[in-house]
């Protein structure tokens, strides 16, 4: 293993730079820009039990310091993912974490069982989906429903289980603790913030408004992510994977300082499609230049 490697209880990453779900496709799509196999892992687009067509209205808009998306979890479904995308991932030697979405606990469980059968090494649960059986409250905003979801998935899946926490809660600590108690191996934080953009144009004396409501991501959310990770780091013992507006090596160091063991690059993949690869190179250079023996030593210094 190299100096940058991260070992999460047997789930190994060659470096701590990952790409966030929904920004990187399912497999090797970014090979138009970089060598994807150089990354610690990619997190796939959210996969559900059945294919989903996603939302109809306007799906993306740029905002100050980021963007809002309302894709609606469009995806090919687990069967097609297994059939067509896993071979591509294997063939290109890409380490991956499969992101899972569902609208009932049973849907998550059925997907997790398939992941178990396929020996998928790691999955990340998107728990920001509405639970249709409890008034469409999001699983990840209520500690009891999160506990129930995570323990149900844990019961059928033996691989590395990551819970992607939503920041749209009063106390993210309670959700992190619930995930850990239910048997999660790690949490990733944060998912997008709820956001709305109203674009106003005056056309022939009348206002035309274009409203996009969805998840706000990009560099504007970085302080929210750092806050969430710092708080989680104090109360949970499982690893934290940091996400939120990362663009530069300084951002990565800031996430390590807050308590993250690894990071995911999201929106920045759209702005500069080579961001993740560049960060792997810059982190490697930084560690060597400053004489750190390992990534753990760097993290320790940053947290002292």
């Amino acid at each position: 293993m190299g100096k940058l490697s991260v070992n999460f209880n047997g789930f190994e990453l060659k470096n701590p730079i990952l790409t966030a779900s929904g920004t990187y496709g399912y497999a090797n799509e970014f090979d138009e820009f970089i060598d994807v196999s150089k990354l610690g892992a990619i997190v796939t687009k959210a996969i559900s039990l059945y294919p989903r067509a996603g939302n109809k209205h306007i799906r993306i808009t740029e905002t100050e310091a980021g963007m809002i998306n309302s894709i609606g979890l469009e995806n090919v479904g687990i069967e097609k993912f297994i059939e067509t995308k896993i071979p591509e991932l294997k063939q290109n030697n890409i380490n991956y974490i499969m992101n899972v979405a569902g609208s009932t606990i049973d849907e998550y469980v059925q997907v997790a069982k398939k992941c178990e059968n396929e020996k998928i090494k790691a999955i990340e649960l998107n728990v920001s989906c509405p639970n249709v059986k409890s008034g469409c409250l999001e699983f990840g905003t209520d500690e009891n429903s999160l506990y129930e979801l995570v323990s149900s998935v844990r019961a059928v899946y033996s691989g590395f289980l990551i819970i992607k926490l939503t920041p749209n809660v009063t106390s993210i600590e309670k959700l992190g603790i619930a995930a850990e108690k239910a048997g999660a191996n790690a949490v990733s934080a944060i998912n997008t913030l709820k956001g709305t953009s109203i674009n106003i144009e005056l056309i022939n004396g009348k206002y035309k408004k274009t409203i996009v409501q969805g998840g706000y991501s990009g560099k504007g959310i970085k302080p929210v992510a750092i806050n969430a990770i710092s708080r989680l780091y104090k109360v949970i013992n499982i690893p934290i994977i940091g996400i939120g507006g990362i663009e530069t090596l300084d951002d990565v160091l800031e996430f390590f300082a807050a308590g993250a063991q690894a990071v995911q690059i999201g929106t920045s993949n759209f702005t500069h499609p080579n961001t993740a690869e560049r960060l792997v190179e810059e982190l490697d250079e930084y560690i060597n230049k400053n004489g750190f023996k390992s990534l753990d030593e760097l993290k320790k210094e940053l947290r002292a």
């Binding site: 920004t23 496709g25 820009f33 067509a53 993306i60 980021g66 998306n69 759209f270 500069h272």
Partner: protein
Amino acid sequence: MKKIYKAKVNKIEKVSSSSYFIEIECENPVFVEAGQFISIYCNGLTLRRPFSVYSNNDGRIGILFKERGKGTKYIKSLKVGDDIDIAGPFGNSFDIKNKKSLLVGAGIGAAPISYLKTKLDNENIENCFISGFLNKNEIPKGMEIDKICTDDGSFGEKGSVLNYIGVIINEYKPEVIYACGPHIVLKIISELGEKYGIETQVAMEKVMACGIGVCRGCVIDIKKNGKIINATVCKDGPVFKGEEVVWEN
């Protein structure tokens, strides 16, 4: 070849009362099919801005743009010799048929159609290029157009390009129509194509994030084998068969 380039501005000039031409030179020549687009990183903004390619002389990439917002304001501010970060080419391209071709542009949508015309001319395919603009000052300098319409009648025929398209179809009798412009223009051309039994290919536009089909931000509905499915403008398009597009009102 990875599709991201550090490039330089080779030329930038105002070519009409509201549009600009910028030519970009990459380290190595980049060759582009008609209908494909590139995306430009605009200093500090999150989303790259997509532009259809207008010219491609010796592997330099030319685009036409209007100042519409923060992104195009940045591009307009560039000077010859400045660095520019571009990615592409992305998307499919016009499926060039060796048939009598009618080319229709409207406003800035004339840019990819003009590039298509140079390709057809190179292949000696008979074609007629009609384009509409608001007024004569809006016609880009140097663009070779066979028939021009202006909304105010200050040059060529008075009125929208849509007012003439029916007449031209009847007189010119094209076997294929290629078009780019506002949604309504593409919709009506597609409907006319179906009415007269003429193949239509339309280049669409939509706000994009990734440019390679992964974020699913730019999907439209299309009809395929009797089913309505999602298609990304960036990867499955930007060129679609007119009859396949489910037109929004």
